[in-house]
Structures are given as structure tokens and as C-alpha cells.
């Protein structure tokens, strides 16, 4: 694993990302990662709040439209995140707070997918915000908030 990580980190691409002076390298990738964050978590928050009873006059069926936005943000952050990881692969792979962030994202994706399945999986009309939906929504809010904090702390907890 380590030689592979070393190859990634010492690649020409990594040298460009972290070493070049242009704002189109590291700063722009980092900014795209923040744009993606706002879309991913923003979309998740909308779904979660609706399940928790905010905006009751929004038809639950229409919440379905928010999921493609969620996945758009997720795609942006998968691509920008892989670029950021590759450029510092050896350092990041062993950074505990980064691994915690990855775990929280994995849980967040599972919870979000489960919310979608619960709402729209059965072909029957979406459930009214039942208590299980509330638990999933609260879990989602906590987990995505945690992922943001872990991501931010990557700059401080080496």
C-alpha cells in the first residue's frame, strides 16, 4: 500500500496540484470541494428538515427532486476529493481525522440512500414523516455536520 501511495504523491500530477503557483491547481480544487460540500450538505439538510416537519406544504413526492442535486454535489466532491487525496496520499492515508471523515461520509451516503428508499422505494405514496424517518433525518444532520467538522480539522490535526 505504502509504495502505491508514494507513487501517487510523487507523481507529476501531485507536483502540479501542490507545487505550482497557479490558483487553478490546489486553490481551485479546494474551492470546488467547498462548492460540492455546500451542495451535498445543503441538499441533505433540505430532505432532513422536510422529514422533521419543516415545510409541511411541500409535497413529499417533490422531495425526490432534491436527490439528483445531492448526487451532483457528491460527484463534484468525489472528483475534487480524489485529486486532493492523490496529491497528499501518503500523509492523508494515515491521518486519523481523515479516516473519520471518510467513515462519516460512508454513513451519510448510506443514510441518505435509505431515506430515499424509504420515501420512494415501494411504489406506494411516500410515507408520512414517521418516527423512523425522523431518526434517519436526525442521523443524517449529525453525520454530515460531523463530516464537515472532520474535513475542516484535517488542516489542524495532523
Amino acid at each position: 500500500m505504502t509504495p502505491f501511495l508514494h507513487t501517487l504523491q510523487s507523481s507529476a500530477f501531485s507536483a502540479w496540484v501542490v507545487g505550482s503557483d497557479t490558483i487553478w491547481a490546489y486553490p481551485m480544487i479546494l474551492t470546488m470541494h467547498t462548492v460540492g460540500l455546500s451542495i451535498v450538505v445543503g441538499a441533505a439538510v433540505i430532505v432532513d428538515l422536510r422529514l422533521l416537519g419543516v415545510g409541511p406544504s411541500i409535497p413529499l413526492e417533490e422531495v425526490k427532486r432534491v436527490f439528483p442535486i445531492f448526487w451532483l454535489g457528491f460527484f463534484i466532491n468525489l472528483v475534487s476529493g480524489v485529486m486532493l487525496f492523490v496529491s497528499e496520499a501518503e500523509d492523508k492515508a494515515t491521518q486519523p481525522v481523515f479516516l473519520i471523515k471518510l467513515l462519516l461520509i460512508a454513513i451519510g451516503v448510506v443514510v441518505t440512500a435509505r431515506i430515499r428508499r424509504r420515501l420512494f422505494g415501494g411504489g406506494s405514496p411516500p410515507m408520512r414523516a414517521a418516527s423512523s424517518g425522523r431518526t434517519l433525518a436526525l442521523t443524517s444532520l449529525v453525520v454530515w455536520g460531523g463530516a464537515i467538522v472532520a474535513g475542516r480539522l484535517m488542516a489542524y490535526l495532523k
Partner: protein, 162 residues
């Protein structure tokens, strides 16, 4: 350093906060959670103003605005703390002034909507397309908030003069 920044940085409150090493990362974490609430809540309403998700009544799509405003308030408070801790990073930064400019644009745009077009929201039925004026307000809002995010994140990298 400019005299204004030097004066703020010499104050007791600025010094004490800077010496509290966990405060900066804590504020950053809150700032990023705040931006997600703001973009999520405002962005959802902006998309409806642009004519997406037409089965959602425009008035109903506004339900998340208190959460967007909460996010903005979180970021105003944490942003002010950043400024007090390190004013020279901001007052001399072109990116910061661009960020402030787009916050003002977004704020004025929202105020324009509330004071002139906002009352027409209630007249709009479900499944109805939005008038062009609504679409412009939605587009300006969406663009401005992402511009705020862009210049905020780019702050350490562009227009710092060093």
C-alpha cells in the same frame, strides 16, 4: 500593516482570542456548517424561483429560509471573530472585498424581492411557472452566494498582495 488592523490586533480581545488556539478551527467548522445551511436553504428557494420543482408552491419553498438566515447569522458571527483575530488578512485582501461585495448584492437582491415582488408569491398557484422577474432574482441570488463562497475559499490565495 495598516493602522486600523494594527489597532484591532493590539486590543485585548483580539490578543486573547488569538491565544485561544482552538478558537480559529472551531469557528471555521461552524462557518462551513453555516455555509451549507445558507446555500441549502437559499438555493432551494432560488431553484423554485428559477422555475424548477413547479409542483412545490413558491410560498412553500420559502420554508427553509429561517434555516438559511440561521446559517448566515452563524457565519456573520464567526466571520466577525476571524476579522477581529486577524484583520490585516482581510482589509488588504481583494478576495475579501469581492466577498463582501457579493454579500451586499445578495442581501439587496433578497430585500428587493421581499419589498416588491414578494407579495406576488402568494398569488402564484402550484404548478405555475415563475415570471421572469422571479427568475432573475433567483439567478442573482444563486450566483451571488456561490461567488461569496468562491471568494471566501480563495481568500488565502488571490489578491493578498503578498
Amino acid at each position: 500593516m495598516d493602522p486600523f488592523s494594527a489597532w484591532i490586533e493590539a486590543t485585548r480581545i483580539s490578543t486573547v482570542m488569538r491565544d485561544t488556539t482552538w478558537l480559529w478551527p472551531a469557528c471555521e467548522s461552524i462557518h462551513f456548517i453555516g455555509l451549507a445551511l445558507l446555500i441549502g436553504g437559499a438555493g432551494y428557494f432560488d431553484l423554485r424561483l428559477l422555475g424548477f420543482m413547479r409542483r412545490v408552491p413558491v410560498a412553500a419553498a420559502k420554508a427553509f429560509m429561517p434555516w438559511a438566515i440561521t446559517g448566515f447569522a452563524m457565519n456573520l458571527v464567526t466571520g466577525t471573530l476571524f476579522f477581529v483575530m486577524a484583520p490585516h488578512m482581510y482589509v488588504l485582501s481583494a478576495a475579501w472585498w469581492a466577498k463582501v461585495f457579493f454579500i451586499v448584492v445578495a442581501g439587496m437582491n433578497a430585500m428587493f424581492f421581499e419589498t416588491t415582488l414578494g407579495t406576488r408569491v402568494m398569488l402564484l398557484g402550484p404548478n405555475e411557472d415563475t415570471p421572469t422577474s422571479f427568475k432573475i432574482v433567483g439567478a442573482v441570488s444563486l450566483f451571488s452566494w456561490f461567488a461569496v463562497l468562491f471568494f471566501g475559499r480563495m481568500l488565502p490565495y488571490i489578491g493578498t498582495g503578498n
